[in-house]
Amino acid sequence: MTDQPTGVQKLNIIKAINAGLRRSMENDAKVLVMGEDVGKLGGVFRVTDGLQKDFGEDRVIDTPLAESGIIGTAVGLALRGYRPVCEIQFDGFVFPGYDQIVSQVAKMHFRSGGRLRLPIVIRIPYGGSIGAVEHHSESPEATFAHIPGLKVVTCSNPLDAYWMIQQAIRLDDPVVFFEPKRRYYEKAEVDLDGEPDLPLESARVALPGTDATVAAYGPMVKTCLDAAAAAADDGRSLEVIDLRSLSPLDLRAVYDSVRRTGRLVMVHEAHRTLGVGAEVAARVTEQCFYSLEAPVQRVTGYDTPYPPARVEEEYLPDLDRVLDAVDRTFAY
């Protein structure tokens, strides 16, 4: 018996993921939640709040403080028929578990010739602008999207958060699920009883527009929507695309948009070199070469380690940097 909310509710991303986890656990007794402090505390961000009370300690597991152990034991649980949802407490703490994710989780289905499936979801709150100390503000998504066998997705709003977590849990492939922690408290209306309007592995046009295309994901979608609002005041119409899935990368909406606008600005918090933006730029060049009016512009974090919090706003892409990049696409 759980207090599953129903109907249309105004939820922030934390509550939306919580509701999605709750629904997944109700629908499938094999779904487990495991991680550091996910039980009684409900997670340091309270994403798993109340789940242990309602589903018990066997299904919501407070683990020892060891990320490789979280992922490695999740592999074993999955081999036994369970569907573990692992929480990594912060982005920068995933690396002790990186070997298990890359060498074991990602490859098991392939190396077994398809006989063994690992339906594991690895939730990672990521990104900066929260004034944190080191290792609490990073964006390591490209280091996972580079690995065959993993799916990598990220939500930008409560509605997507609610559905994408459930879709990720239902998938038989392992999924790394990035949560935009600086947007955790953004609220929106979510119909908890409806159906998702998009498959997990597809991008969404967050705002239609006609003059230039801006692509982003996770925490940067809101930044880009704010930039589009500012651009609209200046009479310029930006189309904003939320990529949502980084592996596989669904760029059909981006191609369609760039063929109309001829201009693309790609925005992410992660470092620039070999980031998701580099892949997007390469593919757009391949697919939309004759439509491009300007080179693809990237607005990203710089190629430095994540800096001290007092300068992180200068490190992170913001509205002005996005608009500057849009201006550059009109300078050619």
């Binding site: 992922i71 490695g72 034991t73 036994r80 002790p96 077994s112 398809g114 006989r115 066998g149």
Partner: protein
């Protein structure tokens, strides 16, 4: 060597559980004899057969590698008793997480040895049915499988498959690893996890004294079995070249696990008589005298001596096993050479459960590229 503990006291040298001396004499044990009281002459003969066939698979594989038929092989020579003794303690529902050297365990679990050869030939990365055989795929990253074993054991707990007293239901997991692996974080994390969750898992460490070129003292200052105490579960050191002792000790540990009493660390004290793998040259780092010393403790010879002493087998039996091994060897050679190479485009088949659009496109691209050569040749 005596080892000083941090507290400065000198613990007694560890006792090695041994039920068969190297000369094949049965050592009585009040504690362990009841654990193998049901073992008949047939069982001993059957274990002898497993030991001999295990060694023959191994020597044939080494030869096939030398002939260029395999890319690599990791020899189990010297570790047959540790593997057969522990594997014969398993029930069908128990689950095995091996390293890449558990060829004799694989045989005992009914895995076709040709499938082991296929992996080392480079045909696939493990084609046996890990669910049906309850023998997981080989794991090459050292120690990673101990966490998988522990997680699987946590699943058994959640399935209510321990402590019911039903011998067909209660299940345990055994994780194999070596002395080198005990230095890995994953192994230590697995010990912690198993301990705090009381998971039904047996950690079976084959201490073969060498991690490629590094001797045991590069990995530890205390006997490995004693590490278990620090994690809060029992550890036992067994003569890893004594198949009966390995059987008895593993049976006890597995039953503790199935009864819901938690993990055990078994240190099977043995010796890697061959090279680490076929690419290794042990003459660069160890003395031949050491190998000669361990040859006197050969795991197969002592069972044979025991059987002869006890009139458990006659020459016709030993000849029959040799003949069977010869036939197996002939079969392995032919079957290995007959293994078909995978088709190049098959690499795209199982990256994900359903192929992604990118992979479909890349497969088409590879196909077109390969076809272009055939078209050129046809011209």
């Amino acid at each position: 060597m005596t080892v000083e503990t941090a507290a400065g006291d000198t613990p007694p040298e560890p006792e090695l559980v041994q039920l068969l001396t190297p000369e094949g004499q049965r050592v009585p044990s009040e504690h362990y004899d009841p654990l193998i009281a049901d073992i008949t002459g047939d069982d001993v003969r059957s274990m002898y057969r497993d030991l001999v066939l295990g060694r023959r698979v191994d020597s044939e594989a080494v030869a096939l590698q030398r002939q260029g038929e395999l890319g690599l092989w990791a020899s189990l020579l010297g570790q047959e008793a540790a593997q057969v003794g522990s594997a014969r303690a398993l029930r069908p529902q128990d689950h095995v997480f091996p390293t890449y050297r558990e060829h004799a365990v694989a045989l005992c679990r009914g895995v076709d040895p040709v499938k082991l050869l296929a992996l080392f030939r480079g045909v696939d990365q493990g084609s046996w049915d890990a669910v049906e055989t309850h023998f997981h795929l080989y794991t090459i990253v050292i120690g990673a499988q101990t966490l998988h074993a522990t997680g699987y054991a946590m699943g058994i707990q959640r399935d209510g498959a321990i402590g019911t007293g039903d011998p067909d239901r209660d299940a345990a997991v055994i994780a194999y690893f070596g002395d080198g692996a005990t230095s890995q974080g994953d192994v230590n994390e697995a010990f912690i996890w198993a301990s705090v969750t009381n998971a039904p898992v047996v950690f079976f460490c084959q201490n073969n004294q060498w991690a490629i070129s590094e001797p045991l003292e590069r990995q530890t200052r205390v006997p490995l079995y004693r590490r278990a105490a620090g994690f809060g579960f029992p550890g036992v050191r067994v003569d890893g070249n004594d198949v009966l002792a390995c059987l008895a000790v593993t049976r006890e540990a597995l039953q503790r696990a199935r009864d819901g009493e938690g993990p055990t660390l078994v240190e099977a004290f043995t010796y890697r008589m061959g090279a680490h793998t076929t690419t290794d040259d042990p003459t660069r780092y160890r003395l031949n005298a050491e190998l000669e010393h361990w040859k006197l403790k050969d795991p197969i010879e002592r069972v044979k001596a025991f059987m002869v002493r006890g009139d458990l087998a006659d020459q016709a039996f030993f000849d029959g096993v040799e003949e069977e091994a010869d036939e197996l060897a002939v079969h392995l050679r032919a079957a290995c050479r007959a293994l078909p190479d995978p088709t190049p485009t098959s690499i795209f088949d199982h990256v994900y459960v359903e192929p992604t659009p990118d992979l479909v496109a890349q497969r088409e691209s590879m196909t077109a590229h390969l076809d272009s050569f055939e078209e050129e040749a046809a011209r």
